[in-house]
Every structure is written in structure tokens, then in C-alpha cells.
Amino acid sequence: MNRNCRTLGLASGFALMLALPAVAEVRIGVLVPDSGPAGLFGPSARNVAQLALEDINAAGGINGQPVRLIFADAGVPPAQAVQSVVRLWRGEGVHGFVGMHDSAVRAALVGQFRGQIPYIYTPVYEGGECAPGTWVTGETPAQQLAPVLPWLAENEGATQWYLIANDYNWGRGTSAAAREIIEDFGGAVVGEEFVPLGTSDFDASLQRIRGSGANAVLVSLVGGDSVAFNIGYGAFGLDDRALRLGTLIEENTLAGIGAAGSNRLYAAAGYFGNIETEAAQAFAARYHESFGADAAPLNTLGQSVYDGLLLMAALGNAAGSMDVAAIAEVADGTGISTPRGEVLLAGNHVAQNVYLADGTGGSFSVVASFDAVSAGVACE
């Protein structure tokens, strides 16, 4: 593949890039959504990347070399996202990628990288990514649900579950994982449905939930769908009948749902903006100090970029180089301390803390935390 790196010249301003910096540095490509449906997570992701950069360089960079971040918009369709990424890779000589984007872009990137460059994928996702050279820090459904579902059964009596999910890989994966866990602890799935992405009217679903006798609902909807569902849920007064649990309800989504729709709405995630650990509090304080009180709210998706970057640095340092094979040698067992707590690589995934928060009243308060939960994904 060497001749692919010959590349890049006159025609479109690439000439600039031929002059690679003389100073030795480690370049990390940070892929965040600046546009598209996930665009609202762009600002918080960029902000925390800045904090991570400060922390990494303050600690001596990677193998003594300073780190430079190069951002690209990954909120576009896969074909275009891949273009930006390959340009950073082949053109700017980026040494590793940290990505917070959808799974379609991930699948496309994995196909391009083919294990030739270290790549850390950070957001909540459906699980199952085992490509070589790819490490995943995002919460998997099993990771979020395995401790949380039994806890809700025990403490809130949530045993009769209705599963509603967007009809795509993550939604289906989450519902499948939940079904397994619920049946394991002796609960029952009393209803399950999948709705198209972009659904805005949930009356029919709410009516089914009402008739199902469920005392708990697992909401595996994304973005606007989740907001619309939960607003309707509250308006119909279903919150008295059944609690809700979401694995992708973060601060932005909750703000959209509002106080009236969030009674007994639980969320499980590896991070919330107001976790009451010392590290998390310090991180949040620093975030608002750096970017202002009205900066984009911290949330598990945006914050995951911080963890991804720290892990990249830790891997580079442990391996003594950014070579993907060298990193693969040392990856297992590499750990970092982050606002989430201790994050430990095991296989391609991480074991991390999972927090359960109650969104009643329109803001999260953590009601339970579970330490070092395995991702539940076995890669060979």
C-alpha cells in the first residue's frame, strides 16, 4: 500500500500538506459530528477533546512527543466521512483516530483501515465490533443493561417490560440484549416493537404500552424520536403506570423532553454530567471554566471523546509507538482513570462503571452506580 502514500499534489491545495511538520509530533484524527442528525453532540465532543489534549500534553504527550489533534466532520454519510478520514490518514499522516459517530461510518472506516492504523470508537453502540486495530470504549447494551435491569426489578419492581426501539442495528441490538437479561432474572417481556427512524407520532405505541400491562418500558429510541415519545408518554399520564429506562437518554435528550415528560424516566450510561465523584466533579468544573457556563452540556456521547483520546495516549505510551501491531500487543489490560472512573481494556472493549440516573424533574440524579461492568462482547 506504500504507493498510496506517494499521493497528494497540486490540484486542490494539497501541496500545503506535503510540507509535513519538521517537529516530531503525534497526530490524532478526531472524528466528531459537526453536521447531520448527531450534529448537536459536535460542540461538547470538540470541547472535551481540547481538555484531553491539554491533559495528554501536560503529561508529556505520547512517547515524549507532543500530540496534535486534527478534526474532521463525521456527521455526513459514510462515503463523505471516509473521504475526510482517508485524507487525514494518507494526506496528513495521522497516526491514530478517535471517532464519535454513527455505526455506518464506523463500518465504512473499519473497511478502509483494515487494521493498519489504531482506531478508537467511543460512543454508545450496539456491540459486536471486533475488527483488528479497532478498540471500543462506548457502552454496549449488555454493559448498560446487565446491572441495571435487575436493580430496577429489585428496587422499583420493574418486572413486566415493554421494549420499544428504533428499527435499526442499535435499537434491535439493545432490545435483544434486554430480552435475554430480563428472562434471566425472571422478568417478562410483555411487548416489543420497532419503529422507523424519524417517527414523530407515538400515539399507537403508547396505546399498546397502556394495554400491555407493562410496569416498565425500555426506550431504545434516538434523538428526536426519543424526545417525541417521552413527551407523549408524559402527556398521556403513563408515567404512573410504568417507569422508563433509556440507554441513550443523555442531557440533551432530557432537556428536549422537559420536566413534564421525565417523571420516572431512568437512564443508564457510563457518564453523566453530574456524577458525584471527585474526578467527575473536577472535570465538569474545568469544562465550564474553559468553555463558559452555557457551553454545550456534558453528556456521555460528547464526553466519550475524552476517554478515547486518553486511551489512545495510554496505548501509545504502553506500546512505545503508534504502530498498530505494537499497540495490539499491549492493549489488553491497559487502563486509564477518567471522569467515568477506572476504564480497563479487555479484548477490544472496555470494562467501565455504569451509572443509573433518574431524570424526574428534568435533570439527572444518579441513583445507583455499578463498578467495572464488562462490555459483554467476546472478541476472539
Binding site: P37, G39, L40, G42, P43, D167, E193, F194, V195, P196, G198, T199, S200, D201, F202, D203, A204, S205, Q207, R208, R210, G211, G223, G224, D225, V227, A228, I231, G232, A235, F236, G237, N252, T253, A255, G256, I257, G258, A259, A260, G261, A296, P297, G362
Partner: protein, 284 residues
Amino acid sequence: MTETALLVLLNLTWQIAALALLALGLAIVFGLLRILNMAHGEFVMLGAYAHVLTAQLGLPPLMAVPLCLALVGLAALLVERLVVRHLYDRMFDSLLATWALSILMREAVELVWGRAYRNVALPVEGVTELGLVGYPTYRLLVIAAIAGFFLVLWVWYRRSLTGVRLRAMVSNPALARASGINTARLSAMAFVTGCLCAGMAGLILAPVMAVEPNMGLDALIRSFFALVVGGLGTLEGLAIGVAVVGGLQAGLSAALSQTAGYLGVLILAILFLWRRPDGIYRRR
């Protein structure tokens, strides 16, 4: 069983009412001006953001109504002056120009208010018990208001002088011009009115929707297909369209699944476009 039936009926009524409200502005603009306003959804979005602006300015929630009218009206007037008026006889061009406008409006709102979801609190909270089932009070009020509004609108369209002029312009623009009707002004009025309807729809439905800059596309597409089925250009057509589309979607969603409801509407639209395309353009 009767409980479920009542709930289905109420949901159906709500869907039809909400859809009628959403589609009205698009119907006005297409029916009177033959312009497929692809930025229709963005005017709905702008109307919803009137709530956000009201809260920002620290005004009482009711002030959102005049603010919405001012905000959306100004935007519509600007758009009509700068863009739409040059495209009255160029259907595809007007479609493309309003599509570009929709992107610009989305980005402008993002620039001002950001991308985050905005919650608009329900002006009237709670559930009203209707014998067997409870139904959100705000929805009941909105249904009643929409029904009343459409009744008034229909009477006005049939009886008033402006209504007569509008219908004259619809059926024969050249003749209308010859009879001294100022079609340029009437066109501008029609466009702004259509956009104001969209804005008011956004304002009224904001408390039940996910309010964010990209919310318009869904409103646009749902309105489109309601109009396709009902026939553009007349209030009666609009009523039939929203009833059929809203009914089908609510019915299939309740009986089978949300996916069935979504696909059902699209397939119905294709069938109508194929078999009854002239239902749409009754006044060819």
C-alpha cells in the same frame, strides 16, 4: 375493548387535526400560487422557536403568539420579496429555490439557537377524564380550536370578498388580473398567509414535538402526502386528504405497527399519484 376503541378514535381525531394544521400552509401556497414550498417545514420550525425566543426575552408565554406572527411573517415577506416572487411561473425552480431556502433557514436557526432540543412546556397540563379514558387536556383544546378555526376559514373562503378574489385568481389568473385584482399583491399575501399558518402550526404543536432545527422535514413530508391524496387547491380537498392519510397512518399504526403506518401512507400516495393525479390539480 370500548376503552381502546375510544382511545383509537381520539388518537385518530388528534392526528387528523394536527395534520390539517400542518398541511394548511402548504395547501394555501401550492393551491394559490402553484409553488411547492419545500421550506414549509422550516416555517413550522420557526413558529416553534417563537416559544424559545419568548422565554429568552423573558416575556409571558402568551406573547409567543404575536412574536410568532411577527417572526414568521417577516421571514416570509423577505423570502417572497427576494426569492419566491421571481419564480411564480417556474414550478421546478421554485421547488429548488425553496429547498435551498430550507437549508439556509435551518442553519440560521442553528446559528442563533444552537442544535440542542428545546422543550416547550405544555400551556395546559394534565389529563381530562372522558368517562372511560383520560386524554391530554392540551390535545383536546387544540382539536377543538382547529375544528373551530377550519369552520371559520371555510365560511370566510366561501363568503368573503377576499375569498372570492382568491378563488378567481386560482381559477384564472389572467382574467383576475384583467378584472382589476392585484394578483402580485394577492400572491404576496397568499404566500405570507401560508407561511403564517405553518408558523402557527409550529407554535401550537411545539409542546408535543421534539423542537430542534431539523424538525421541519418530517412536517413537510407528512403534509405533502396528505395534500397529494386529497387534492390541492381546495379546503375540501385538504380535509379529505388529511382524513385519509391521518386515518390510514393512525389505523395501520394501531392495528399493525408504526412501520406499516409509515409505508402505508407512502404506498397510498403513490397509488393516488398514479390513478388520480388529476384529483390534485382539479383546476387545470
